[in-house]
């Protein structure tokens, strides 16, 4: 369940409600974008208005599923093309926040809507237009990924060379322990 801050609750209760989404891509040089046609200032950063050139997939929540997201940018601008061609985006963090405006069109607060890691960036050209698309995996996908670290001596030595805690773990595994031993009752 999401907990809303008091300023957001107050802004939502007022009419009309203004909302936008902020996208922060932690690339070599952090990219700040927002879904409105204006450039917005928040947390001392300027989020460039990408309403004319950008698109974000609908964020869907489904029980038992962790869904990815896709971001698109108009690829006509040389700066955007350079971003797609030169930037190693794979694995870089991306955060989508929803901001709420008050009746004076001032941002009152932001809440994280989605967080993940970027995948490969592609450039598509068709019908006289070019678009740059990058998909991202939700950060929660880590929870579903199997861990390759085992409770073995070799793994423990790799992590902590001086620690011999798991040295006899194979000898001890699945050994029946009878306590007290039968000899105790024969005394």
């Amino acid at each position: 369940m999401r907990t809303l801050t008091a300023p957001i609750i107050a802004a939502l209760a007022a009419r009309p409600v203004g909302i936008a989404q902020l996208v922060t891509m932690y690339l070599t040089s952090t990219v700040y974008l927002n879904t409105t046609a204006w450039s917005l200032s928040w947390n001392s950063n300027t989020y460039l208005g990408a309403a004319n050139v950008g698109r974000i997939d609908v964020i869907e929540d489904a029980p038992g599923e962790i869904k990815g997201l896709s971001f698109q940018l108009n690829g006509v601008g040389s700066a955007n093309l350079a971003l797609a061609l030169a930037e190693p985006v794979q694995g870089k963090r991306v955060v989508v926040e929803t901001v709420v405006f008050n009746a004076s069109s001032v941002v009152v607060d932001a809440m994280v809507e989605w967080e993940g890691r970027l995948d490969v960036m592609t450039i598509q050209e068709e019908g006289g237009s070019a678009t740059i698309t990058v998909t991202a995996e939700h950060i929660g996908i880590d929870l579903l990924r199997p861990t390759n670290s085992l409770y073995s001596n070799a793994e423990q030595q790799r992590l902590h060379a001086a620690d011999h805690f798991c040295e006899y773990i194979i000898d001890q595994a699945e050994q029946p322990l009878i306590w007290p031993a039968a000899s105790f009752w024969r005394k």
């Binding site: 009309p16 409105t36 046609a37 004076s104 069109s105 001032v106």
Partner: protein, 197 residues
Amino acid sequence: MSAYAWPTDLQPSGCSLFLEPNVREFISPWTGAYDVVDLMGERWHMTVTLPVRRRSQAGAIEAYFNRLRGVHTATAWYFSRPAPIGTMRGTPILSAQAAQGVQSLSVSGAGAYGTVKAGDMLGLAGQWLQVAADATASAGGAITILTANRVRATVSSSTAVVWDKPTATFRLASPRVPVAHLPGYSDSLDVELIETW
């Protein structure tokens, strides 16, 4: 991308203007209750009607729109009201910073008892702001102007408030502007412009 000024001799015979809000409306199918979410960033849409022209003058229309090539933009003023109906003239400036999203401007230098009338179009840092309500300046030329649309980016104090043919930047709604040539003249045509920044 370049911005080409609207040719002064390309005077329209008609002009319509509206402010297109960027909102999403929600209407309850059960109760009819209505709510709206503001996504920020309203834009001006202006449709100009260019009159019938002599054959010798028609080429200028073709050349101007072809030069835009669907890539470049046009800077134009509000043809229906190039100067305020109110009496504010001189060199008005902002007397205080106008923050992003505000609909009120504090202006000085508006002339003693200078007025603005609802509907007057003012220019501020390349943005059109339409006066929402009549206002009168003080004897010292200070005036508070309420606007119909919002300031889209913070503008610092002392910035000039343009009243004489303030311009905004537009792109063509369709990059294709066919000029119909008839024997001896070119037909009138409508061109739709959408504000861009």
